[in-house]
């Protein structure tokens, strides 16, 4: 009887499809789909990165013409509108960022914009901020969507073809931010590794053309780079030193390494046609030197964290 039963089981097993049964597969996951900031993708160098010839000294601006506002001038139009429209950043700590506690925008660049508003309205709150990504700065100025751009805006010949700049209000250079404890000491050690920068920034172009051949990775905002670093999705980020200082201030496990790779003079961007506004903003910058407000703002946002004191750069004018 028992033998019959065994035979029967064997026969059933043979006729069942697939031979002896196997346990149902476990839901095994071997790779995860990591979250990405919006617009995060492999980076492409902006345009050529080469300086167009015949631009002379790009940092030479127009000589200031005083703080008076003539009827019919660009400043008069802004005054009639009742507010200055400033293109800024809300994601770059220390320069232009949203204070999560107060919902207000703050930073060194924001102070620059406020000073311009104060010169026009005698009230630095008459500003409408319009957040721009690096990529959109020229477009916003060319379309007249904003009156000024104060957003870690490097003056160069390529940009001067589309927009005008004020005199230089800050000069810095590009460095590299890496994890503390990593063996990376400069861009030279980043060959074949992902290095993050903002889309449309000069920093991204520098990464793309660096001889060590790091892999450029582009995002929409500087803080997205830090997110990617914290999540281990990129090895480093590289941009102007004070931006990196702002990142390091938010994360004690990262450090800034390597020499300054470039020289980045920051200016306030102004639509190309508005030469009266360029002169006016340069007058504002002169006033800031005089009344110490530049120094105050620099000391508040940059000096303490960068550990480096500085004074307002001496302006250069074309005539």
């Amino acid at each position: 009887m028992k033998r019959v039963a065994l035979l029967l089981v064997a026969a059933l097993a043979l006729t069942a499809c697939g031979g002896p049964g196997r346990p149902v597969d476990l839901a095994v996951v071997t790779a995860v789909d990591r979250p990405q900031p919006d617009g995060s993708k492999p980076g492409e160098a902006g345009a050529t990165g080469a300086q167009p010839s015949g631009c002379g000294d790009p940092t030479a601006s127009l000589r200031p013409g005083g703080l008076g506002i003539a009827a019919g001038s660009t400043m008069a139009k802004i005054r009639d509108r009742g507010r200055l429209i400033a293109g800024v950043d809300q994601n770059t700590y220390l320069f232009g960022f949203r204070n999560p506690a107060t919902n207000n925008l703050e930073g060194f660049d924001i102070d620059m914009a406020k000073q311009v508003a104060k010169a026009i309205f005698n009230d630095d709150s008459k500003i409408q901020y319009k957040v721009l990504t690096s990529r959109d700065r020229e477009k916003a100025l060319a379309n007249g969507e904003v009156d000024i751009v104060a957003r870690t805006y490097t003056i160069n010949c390529e940009r001067l073809q589309q927009v005008s700049f004020s005199a230089v209000y800050y000069t810095t250079g590009q460095r590299v931010l890496v994890q503390k404890g990593s063996s990376i000491n400069s861009m030279d050690d980043l060959g074949g590794k992902k290095v993050c920068a903002n889309v449309g920034s000069t920093s991204l172009t520098q990464i793309a053309k660096h001889p060590a051949k790091p892999v450029p990775w582009s995002v929409l905002n500087w803080s997205d780079c830090l997110v990617l670093m914290q999540q281990g999705q990129v090895a480093a980020m590289s941009t102007d030193e004070p931006i990196l200082v702002g990142m390091a201030a938010q994360d004690p496990t990262v450090r800034i390494v390597g020499p300054k790779l470039t020289e980045e003079p920051y200016g306030i961007g102004i639509p190309k046609a508005n030469t009266d506004m360029v002169k006016f903003v340069n007058a504002v910058l002169e006033r800031m030197r005089g009344d110490g407000s530049w120094q105050q703002s620099y000391d508040r946002w940059v000096a303490s964290r960068l550990g480096e004191s500085a004074t307002q750069p001496t302006p250069k004018y074309r005539d």
């Binding site: 839901a27 996951v29 995860v32 789909d33 979250p35 990405q36 900031p37 919006d38 009742g82 507010r83 429209i85 809300q90 994601n91 770059t92 700590y93 960022f97 949203r98 204070n99 999560p100 506690a101 107060t102 919902n103 925008l105 500003i127 409408q128 901020y129 319009k130 957040v131 721009l132 990504t133 959109d136 905002n221 803080s223 997205d224 830090l226 997110v227 990142m247 938010q250 994360d251």
Partner: protein
């Protein structure tokens, strides 16, 4: 075989064959009908027990996730430590999404598409929650990287989680509709088989009358009547049940589907509204989506995509109509509030725009949106009740039919056997 052929030449032999054929046909028809009706009953009870609850769970996942995302952005916009009410709303949304996901995962029915969506949701939901908590921690430290985590979370939500939830809902509502069609169809094969049986019984009686000159054969008559009753009962009950399934679809699930679509649009618009403010000038894409979507929930009926106008036109139940009318009023109030808050933001009054977006004053966007969502939620609940009500009556119409047809088929077989044996005996 040869014996059968030989006996077919004599009348008694022929009668023997006819008797066995009739018995076999009766039993077969009875079996077939009972199985077909049982499967129909299973399909109908499956509608209320599985299909509809699953599509409801899928829409709940979408709703909870989308609301969680909009709430997280609102909490961020309020600045400082987030308001307790918003935190609580976010927590409930997430718990709700998890619970509804567990329900949706319980029956993906081997459908690869559904399984894939549930997989995506199951894998990415904890990732999303982690990003939001990282954002909160950084926000409390006053660090702007919190905003970057919030944006990453929102990107994950909009790029992966919400599309998966929407697709899952689409699959589930498709399965519901398919099975409703299935439940509403008459079992034509069974009807045809029964007609053949009935025809055979009648033909046999005509044959017997001709051969034996006796008008009535009680056994066969009983058999014929039993099969006839079975046919009439089955067709009538099937027809009543199909009509009830149809009304469950038209007044229930189809209306719910339109309302769910309207709710999804409203949620998308709300997310666009808050994200435009979070982006602070860099959010033209969100506002563009709002401009595209808002007309589809205006209820003005200006275009054929207007979901609320559609819902109003098809609402057959007064309670649903009332909620839909309320929804239209609130949708219009919201659009007015939105227009004002955009105007404030576009003219540099950002703080006022934010308070208009988040405030709970009657004129504020948040309050209009919340009321609209509540109207839609109530209307969806009413539609679901309507669905269950009609589907249950479809089920009730079939009560007793399965044992009934089985017994009738047995009577049919027995009658035929007794009737023909009676005649056969006369030949001995």
């Amino acid at each position: 075989m040869r014996r059968v052929a030989r006996s077919a030449r004599t009348t008694p032999g022929r009668l023997g064959i006819i008797a066995s054929a009739l018995v076999a046909l009766s039993v077969l028809t009875g079996l077939f009908a009972a199985l077909a009706l049982q499967s129909k009953q299973d399909t109908i009870s499956g509608l209320t027990d599985h299909r509809e609850p699953l599509s409801a769970a899928a829409q709940q996942i979408y709703r909870s996730l989308s609301d969680a995302d909009a709430t997280a952005s609102s909490a961020f916009l309020s600045g400082g430590s987030e308001p307790a009410a918003l935190r609580e709303r976010y927590e409930i949304d997430m718990a709700q999404a998890g619970a509804a996901l567990a329900k949706a995962a319980s029956d993906v029915g081997g459908i690869a598409g559904a399984e894939k969506q549930v997989d995506t949701l199951g894998q990415q939901l904890p990732v999303y929650a982690g990003l939001i908590e990282t954002a909160r921690t950084n926000n409390r430290f006053g660090l702007p990287i919190g905003a970057a985590y919030l944006r990453e979370a929102s990107t994950l939500m909009r790029a992966k989680l919400l599309p998966a939830a929407q697709e899952l809902y689409r699959i589930d509502i498709g399965r519901l509709t398919d099975e409703q069609d299935d439940a509403a169809s008459l079992p034509w094969l069974t009807v045809a088989l029964t007609l053949v049986l009935l025809g055979s019984l009648i033909a046999t009686q005509v044959y017997l009358t001709r051969k034996t000159n006796r008008l009535i054969n009680t056994g066969l008559l009983v058999s014929t009547v039993a099969v006839g009753i079975g046919l009439v009962w089955g067709v009538a009950a099937g027809w009543v049940s199909a009509a009830a399934v149809g009304s469950a679809r038209d007044d229930g699930s189809q209306q719910v589907d339109v309302l769910v679509q309207a709710r999804i649009v409203a949620l998308k618009c709300r997310a666009d509204e808050t994200l435009t403010l979070v982006a602070r000038g860099d959010g033209t894409a969100y506002e563009k989506e709002w401009q595209e979507l808002a007309p589809t929930i205006s209820g003005k009926g200006e275009n054929d995509k207007d979901l609320l106008a559609k819902a109003r036109a098809s609402a057959s139940d007064p309670a649903i109509s009332q909620q839909v009318r309320g929804a239209i009023d609130n949708a219009q109030a919201w659009q007015e509030a939105h227009r004002k808050l955009r105007e404030l933001d576009d003219t540099g009054q950002y703080d006022q725009a934010v308070s208009m977006a988040l405030g709970d004053d009657d004129k504020d966007a948040a309050s209009a949106f919340n009321k609209l969502d509540e109207n839609l939620s109530n209307a969806i609940q009413k539609g679901r009740e309507k669905f269950v009500e009609s589907t249950s009556s479809a089920q009730n119409a079939l009560t007793g039919l399965v044992p009934g047809v089985a017994v009738l088929a047995l009577i049919g077989a027995g009658g035929a056997l007794v009737g023909i044996r009676q005649r056969l005996r006369e030949y001995r």
